[in-house]
């Protein structure tokens, strides 16, 4: 199954320590950290949520490079958010760092277990089985009135790694999201350039050949699955903290569908693409809600069709195409 034309990463020479993508990532980090505090609050919040979603989609990018599309990312996104929320709800812990660690840990732990099963699946069956798991979580949460059923519950944060957030809560949360997204993107970039990371595209192009080479396809897929789940968990934790509320909707299939939407919109050409895709998606959606409350679905759907038709490599291909020209 090919989501993209044979990947660019294969054509690129092995990445040295500092390459263009790394430079861009650092540049984006500096700019975002500098610009964040002077942005209007709505824009800062939208960026905050978009970057968190970008982190989730970054995990999907890894799976897509491996040739797998998950319609059940909501499972880990929701687990991450509920892990953070439960710490606050049941134990009164209100530390961002602890919560995020829990988000990642819970999502990754569940992924390790489910990964044994899912690593055997491909194509639409991988998509559907992951969707089934995510919908089971949704059903369980809806049934759990101790967790507020469909209404969910609220959470709030007070400290980050022990330091009080105080007045600067929003700014610090934004900076935290930026840093987490940066680390995730940089880590993913390094991983994709590593031997194990390169196997991903190889598996997508031809599994059998990878096996002949002596690598274990299932192990690579399993590892990539866990990484992608951990990122989804981190994204879920970040969103849960930013919103201050978690509910089962996060595990519903439409949530996962939106992540796939963003991933296709963005393209898998670069680790920066998911973040750009998420920002554009959220901006289009927000303005469509406001200026055309009756037809925002029409606008989103049309946008998606146009991107698929005219930019098959996703929005990111605008940049690469210009470069080639």
């Amino acid at each position: 199954m090919q989501v993209n034309k044979p990947s660019q990463s294969l054509k690129r020479p092995p990445a040295p320590g500092v390459d263009r993508t790394t430079l861009m990532l650092v540049g984006a980090l500096v700019i975002l950290l500098a610009v964040g505090p002077i942005l209007p609050r709505w824009a800062m919040f939208m960026l905050n949520v978009s970057l968190s979603w970008g982190t989730v989609v970054l995990g999907m990018l890894l799976l897509m490079r491996t040739g797998l599309v998950s319609f059940g990312t909501g499972l880990y996104y929701c687990l991450g958010a509920y892990a953070a929320g439960a710490l606050h709800h049941f134990y009164g812990i209100a530390d961002v760092a602890v919560m995020l660690a829990a988000s990642v840990a819970v999502a990754a732990a569940v992924a390790v277990v489910l990964g044994f099963l899912l690593a055997k699946y491909r194509d639409i069956f991988f998509a559907m089985l992951s969707l089934a798991f995510s919908m089971i979580l949704y059903g369980l949460l809806v049934k759990t009135s101790a967790l507020g059923s469909t209404d969910g519950f609220g959470l709030s944060v007070k400290t980050i790694a022990g330091f009080p957030l105080g007045e600067w809560e929003r700014n610090l949360m934004f900076s935290t999201t930026v840093v987490v997204a940066f680390c995730a993107a940089l880590g993913m970039h390094r991983y994709l350039s590593s031997h194990q990371g390169r196997l991903a595209s190889a598996i997508r192009d031809n599994e059998l050949r990878v096996e002949y080479m002596g690598a274990s396809v299932r192990r690579v897929i399993h590892v990539n699955y866990v990484i992608s789940a951990a990122l989804a968990g981190a994204g879920g934790g970040l969103v849960g903290i930013a919103i201050g509320h978690v509910d089962p909707e996060m595990a519903f299939w439409t949530t996962s569908g939106e992540f796939v939407f963003i991933a296709i919109l963005a393209g898998t050409g670069s680790v920066l693409a998911p973040f750009l895709g998420a920002i554009i998606f959220e901006t289009v959606r927000s303005f469509a809600y406001e200026y055309s409350p009756n037809t925002w679905q029409l606008i989103l759907g049309t946008t998606m069709l146009l991107v698929i038709m005219f930019l098959p490599g996703g929005l990111w291909s605008i940049f690469t195409r210009r470069k080639a020209a």
């Binding site: 861009m24 942005l39 009135s145 059923s149 969910g152 940049f319």
Partner: protein, 442 residues
């Protein structure tokens, strides 16, 4: 490629800064009062609740701006300043709604927000409104958790919470049919359906301990096919069947259950049945106990305000206003009453309509508005509401139930019984489940 990205980011930042400085200007003027109005425009809640609410909001704003609302609301707009609505779709879940709320407040610069039908959205929005210090009136969501689990300064709810729906249903049922032995339920499997059934079940256990539960059916929200559920209910042979279904789900249940004779076997209670009286017609069996989640719609007492709402709503729709429309009226009129009370104090405590309309640009700050709103009593088409719970932020009203009876092809409601607020709502500082378990003492 790097340059492009840097340029894009820089452009975005510049645009944002520009928008921000523009926003700062807009906030100082008060020639118009901008109200963000959030309601379902798509999805299953749009038809029965969301769109009637929007129509009501538009009608009320037009009437307020024209100064056509009966006294004491005859001052134009809010204290002479005309209103402007910014309508947003509530669909999409809490994550999007929190984002949208923030945009409403800091991008659209609305002065106040009125909105939210879904309880989940209310629970998520309230802390954000508090953080952003934006006076927000929740108009239709029912969960008691909003003010029982937290307290807010900037958040108000002008309709009573949902505990009374179940408690009054039980009180009415026991008055009408004191010999009830068995009861079952069919409720949607999400927070409203579960809470509604739990409250009903707890209230029955408190007031009629010898009655037993037969079956509690919890179909998925929006499932539409109730064949198996109806068979299970038929076989349960319950004296009473409780249901909090609404919208298309309720209509589908009635269409499928009535031909199968379910309600010849069991007494049906529809907690939120009022909006469908005119729609269900032949499919609404005589003798069904219905409520309107408050003294709205057919349960609203006769008054000039009630007549006015009917007329105003009829300019926008071809049917009478249902309970969401009444909830909207409560929200707008409550906020207006508080606003004008604060404005009069600001003007020196004397004068009235003329003085306020002479100074449309003058308006109270949020602190004065909140002080005026807390504990306020105000009239509405549904009767008088008092903001007496949640430290003066949660309205309390009585409620009513009735029994359907078809008269000449039209469904009417008879045997209406009214319950004062104290009989159906827990007092301040007590959670709803505790109060019900404790026997619902005043």
């Amino acid at each position: 490629m790097g340059k492009m990205f840097v340029r894009a980011v820089a452009g975005l930042a510049l645009a944002a800064v520009a928008a921000y400085s523009g926003a700062a200007d807009a906030q100082q003027k008060r020639d118009k009062i901008r109200i963000g109005f959030v309601t379902f425009l798509s999805g299953p809640a749009a038809g029965p609740f969301g769109v009637p609410a929007r129509l009501a909001a538009e009608a009320i704003v037009e009437q307020l701006n024209a100064g056509k609302v009966p006294a004491p609301y005859d001052t134009k707009g809010f204290g002479g300043a005309p209103l402007e609505l910014v309508v947003i779709d509530e669909a999409g879940g809490t994550t999007k709604q929190v984002s949208e709320f923030r945009s409403l407040v800091s991008r659209q610069n609305v002065d106040y927000v009125i909105g939210y039908i879904s309880s989940g959205d209310c629970l998520a929005i309230a802390p954000v409104a508090e953080e952003m210090k934006k006076v927000t009136v929740l108009f239709d969501c029912g969960t008691p958790r909003v003010f029982e689990e937290a307290s807010y300064r900037y958040v108000f709810r002008t309709r009573p919470h949902a505990t009374m729906d179940a408690v009054a249903a039980v009180r009415y049922l026991l008055e009408m049919k004191p010999a009830v032995k068995t009861y079952g339920g069919i409720n949607q499997n999400y927070a409203w359906g579960q809470d509604s059934w739990n409250d009903f079940d707890l209230s029955m256990k408190a007031l009629k301990p010898d009655a037993t539960v037969t079956t509690s059916q919890m179909p998925k929200f929006g499932s539409g096919q109730y064949g198996a559920e109806i068979s299970a209910l038929l076989q349960s042979r319950s004296d009473v069947i409780h249901s909090s279904l609404w919208g298309g789900d309720l209509e589908a249940l009635m269409m499928q259950a009535v031909p199968r004779g379910l309600f010849r076997r069991s007494q049906l209670i529809l907690v939120a049945g009022e909006p469908y009286l005119h729609r269900l017609g032949a499919n609404m069996p005589d003798g069904t106990i219905v409520g309107a989640r408050g003294t709205h719609g057919v349960f609203a007492p006769e008054s000039t305000l009630n007549t006015w709402l009917h007329k105003a709503y009829r300019t926008k729709a071809d049917h009478d206003p249902n309970y969401p429309a009444y909830s909207v009226a409560l929200a707008f009129l409550g906020l207006k009453a508080a606003f004008e009370k604060a404005k009069l104090e600001q003007l020196g405590g004397k004068g009235g309509k003329e003085e306020m309309e002479k100074a449309p640009g003058v308006g109270p700050g949020d602190e004065q508005l909140i002080a005026a709103f807390e504990g306020l009593s105000f009239d509405s088409p549904s009767g008088r509401a008092t903001m007496s719970l949640g430290k003066g932020h949660q309205a309390v009203m009585g409620t009513a139930y009735g029994t359907t009876k078809r008269v000449g092809g039209k469904v009417t409601v008879t045997n209406i019984k009214r319950y004062p607020a104290e009989a159906v709502t827990p007092p301040e500082g007590m959670s709803s489940p505790d109060w019900i378990k404790g026997g619902m003492k005043k």
